[in-house]
Point group: C2
Chain length 398, copies 2
C-alpha cells in the first residue's frame, strides 16, 4: 500500500503551530484572537530596509541566484557594520548567510552530529530543535532548568552526567526561547569549558542578542576564550530588524571545517532569498537608537505581561531578561487542552487569545505540562487586554 | 578530538558549484568567464513582479511571517492564474509554497522515503537529488538513459528490475535537467502505470514546464489518470519568471497524507521568504506573450549551442526539447579535469568558459565521465563566442 515514509508520518507537528487551524476557524467566525503564540513582533521595520529593496527592484533586469553563502556585499556589511560594532571580530569567510535562523541551526546540528549521535540541550528549549533532531536521527538529551529557580542553568555536573561516546554538541539559545533566560558570562564560560574538555561543539543560537533587558553587556559564545574551534553561532538578521518574513540569518564559526561543511549544505539549496538579502543590506544602516527604542518598548511589554501573569491566582512566571517570551506555570492540568479551549470555546466580547503550550519544549516526561509560552509581542494596551482575557479564562476554565 | 559529523564530512560537494573557486580566481585576475555552468538565465524578469515588491514595500509597517504554506493570496493566485490556465485543476489545499524548487524536492523525497529506503531515478539526473538522498540516508537506484539514444526513457522492464521491498518512489525531472529530454505522454503514462502497480510515489520535478520546444502540449504527471495518490509535483515560480533569486517554488499533491506531511516540514522552517512571495504574486500577472518570447529566444540559443557543439570534432549532443541545458559528449578522458583546466589554464583573448562535468549526474560507475552539461543561458552572440572558445579549447587540450 502506498504510504508516506515512517519518518514523515512520525515527525512531530509543530506545537507552536498545530493550534493554527483552531485560530483560523475562530477568526473566520469573526472572533478577535490576540496572538501571544508566535514570536512575530509588530514593531516597525527600519525604513532603510524596505527602501533598499525598492531601490534595487527599480533598476533590476532579472533576479539571479547569488553565491550560495550569500551576496559578498551582505556578508561584508554584516561583519563590518554589525559584528565589529558590537565587538565581535570575525572574518567574512567565517560567516554564511542562511534562510533565516532556522536553516542555520538545522545545518549546525547536522554538521555537529549524525544519525545515532547525541546533542545536549537545556530544557525548556526551542521546539524545532527537536524537529530537526528527529529528522536527522539525532537524539536530544536534556539538562533540566526549573521555572521555580528562574530557569537557572544547572550545575555542570548535570551536563557531565549526560555525556556518552555519542555526544557531539551542546545546543543552547541565549537569550533563551522560550524561557527568556539570559545566560551570564560565568554560565557561558562554564559551558564553554565543559565543551572544550569533552570535545563537543557549542551551538549557540543568539538570534535574540539585541533583545536583552539588563545593564550587563551581552556575552556571546564567540567571546569564550579557547573555544574558537567548538563554537557555532546561529544568528538572524531578519528577526533583529522586525523583518521576520525576509528569512535571512547566518551561521558563524571560526572552525574552517565547519564552514566548509556549511557551504556544502548551502550549495545544495543554491542560494538564500535575494530580495531578503537586499532588505538585510539596507537594515544594516539602521541607527543604534532603533535598538534602544525597541528594547525600551519590550521592557514595557514584558513588565505588563509578567506583572499581570503573577497577579493571577495560581499563575507563576519568572522575570525574563531577554528575547520576547516568558514561560508561565498555569493552574490547569494540561496547558495544551487549555490553549485549544481558548480558541474553540472561550469568548469575552467576541475576543479570545492564543498561547503556546510548553510541554513540547521539555524532554523530561511530564515536565512543563501546565506551562505555556507567552510571546509579549503586542502593544501594551492590547497586551493588557489579552492578559485580562487570560485571567477571566482561567477563572472560567477552573 | 572535535570533528564534524561523518555525514557532513562525507556529503558530496556540489559538482556544479565546486569549480566556483577556480572561476572566482580567474575573474579576480581579470579574465572574462562565460558561464555555461549554472541554469541562471539572463532574460529580463517581468516588470509586474518587481513592481509588486516595490509597491508592497512602500506601504509596509513590518515584515511578518506568513502562513507556513505561504500567503493564501499567493496560493490562490497560483491555482487560478497559472495552473487552471494551463489546464491543471488543483485545489489550494493541494499546494504548498516552498523555498524554491529545492525545498520542494527535498521535502518530497523525505515524505516518500525514509533512511534505508530507495528511490528510482533516470540517469542523468539533477545532482542535488543525490545530495538530499545522501543527507537522508536514502539510496538512489538509477535506470540508465543513453546519450546516443537521445536520452530515450528505457523500457519499463528496466524500472521493474530495480524494484525491491525498500523502493518507495520514482523521481524524474520533465523536461530533464541536465539532458533537456522531454518525456512523451506515452512515457509518462507508462511510468505512472508502473508506480501505481508497485505502490510507489511518482515525484515529478516540472520546474522547466514552460521551457518546452515542441508543438506537442506539455503532459504533466498531474494528468496521469488514476495516479492521484501517487503523484507529487515539484515546481518553481521564481525559475519560470527569471526570478531565480526570489526562491519561490511549490509542492503539489492530491494525496492528503502527503500534504499533511509537507505542512509539518514547512512549519519547522516557519515560512517561505515573503518578499519573494510578493514578487511571485506580481509575476502571476505576466502576459502569456512573455513565455512565447522566452521560448523563441531559448530555441535560438539551443540551436546556436547544439549546432556548434555537433560541428566540433568528436563532440556529440542530442537535440534537447526542454529546459535550457544539453549534455554533450566531449573528446576528453575526464570532463571534470577539462572543466577545471578551462578555468585555470585556457585563455583566448583573456577569455574562457565554465561548463559542468556531468559524471555526478550518473550512478553507473564510469558513465558520463566525458560528458558535460552546457546551460544555454547567454544571449546568442555571447553563446556563439563561448562555443568558439570551447572548440579552440578542445583542440588545444588534445
Amino acid at each position: 500500500m502506498l504510504k508516506v515514509s515512517a519518518r514523515a508520518q512520525e515527525m512531530p507537528a509543530s506545537a507552536i503551530r498545530k493550534l493554527v487551524p483552531y485560530a483560523e476557524a475562530a477568526e473566520a467566525a469573526g472572533v478577535k484572537v490576540y496572538h501571544l503564540n508566535v514570536g512575530a513582533p509588530d514593531i516597525q521595520s527600519p525604513a532603510c530596509a524596505t527602501k533598499a529593496v525598492s531601490e534595487r527592484c527599480a533598476g533590476m533586469h532579472h533576479l539571479s541566484y547569488t553565491h550560495s553563502a550569500g551576496l559578498k556585499e551582505l556578508r561584508t556589511a554584516m561583519v563590518e557594520k554589525y559584528y565589529r560594532k558590537i565587538g565581535l571580530d570575525i572574518d567574512v569567510s567565517q560567516l554564511l548567510v542562511t534562510v533565516g535562523g532556522s536553516e542555520a541551526f538545522a545545518a549546525a546540528m547536522q554538521i555537529a552530529a549524525g544519525p545515532g549521535e547525541e546533542i545536549i540541550v537545556v530544557e525548556p528549549y526551542y521546539t524545532n530543535y527537536q524537529t530537526y533532531a528527529f529528522l536527522n536521527g539525532i537524539t536530544l538529551k536534556a539538562v533540566h532548568s526549573d521555572i521555580r529557580e528562574g530557569f537557572r542553568v544547572p550545575e555542570i555536573s548535570e551536563f557531565e552526567r549526560l555525556v556518552s561516546p555519542s555526544t557531539r554538541a551542546v545546543l543552547i539559545s541565549n537569550p533563551c526561547n522560550p524561557s527568556g533566560k539570559l545566560f551570564t558570562r560565568e554560565e557561558m564560560l562554564a559551558i564553554g569549558d565543559f565543551c572544550r574538555r569533552n570535545d563537543l561543539f557549542l551551538i549557540c543560537d543568539e538570534v535574540y542578542r539585541e533583545f536583552c533587558y539588563t545593564d550587563e553587556p551581552y556575552f556571546s559564545a564567540l567571546e569564550i576564550p579557547g573555544c574558537e574551534r567548538n563554537v557555532i553561532i546561529v544568528d538572524s538578521v531578519s528577526k533583529r530588524y522586525n523583518l521576520c518574513g525576509a528569512r535571512i540569518g547566518c551561521i558563524i564559526s571560526r572552525n574552517e571545517e565547519v564552514m566548509a561543511c556549511a557551504l556544502k549544505y548551502a550549495q545544495a539549496r543554491l542560494c538564500p532569498p535575494v530580495l531578503g538579502q537586499y532588505a538585510a543590506i539596507g537594515a544594516l544602516d539602521t541607527p543604534a537608537s532603533y535598538f534602544k527604542e525597541v528594547r525600551e518598548e519590550y521592557i514595557r511589554r514584558r513588565d505588563c505581561a509578567v506583572d499581570a501573569l503573577n497577579a493571577m491566582p495560581g499563575v507563576f512566571s519568572p522575570v525574563p531578561y531577554g528575547a520576547f517570551y516568558t514561560v508561565a506555570e498555569l493552574p490547569v492540568d494540561d496547558a495544551g487542552d487549555f490553549a485549544k479551549w481558548l480558541l474553540t470555546d472561550f469568548r469575552r466580547n467576541n475576543e479570545t487569545l492564543m498561547i503556546t503550550p510548553a510541554a513540547s519544549f521539555y524532554k523530561t516526561p511530564g515536565a512543563g505540562r501546565n506551562h505555556a509560552r507567552i510571546a509579549y509581542v503586542l502593544e501594551v494596551p492590547q497586551l493588557r487586554r489579552a492578559m485580562e482575557l487570560l485571567a477571566e479564562a482561567l477563572t472560567e476554565y477552573n
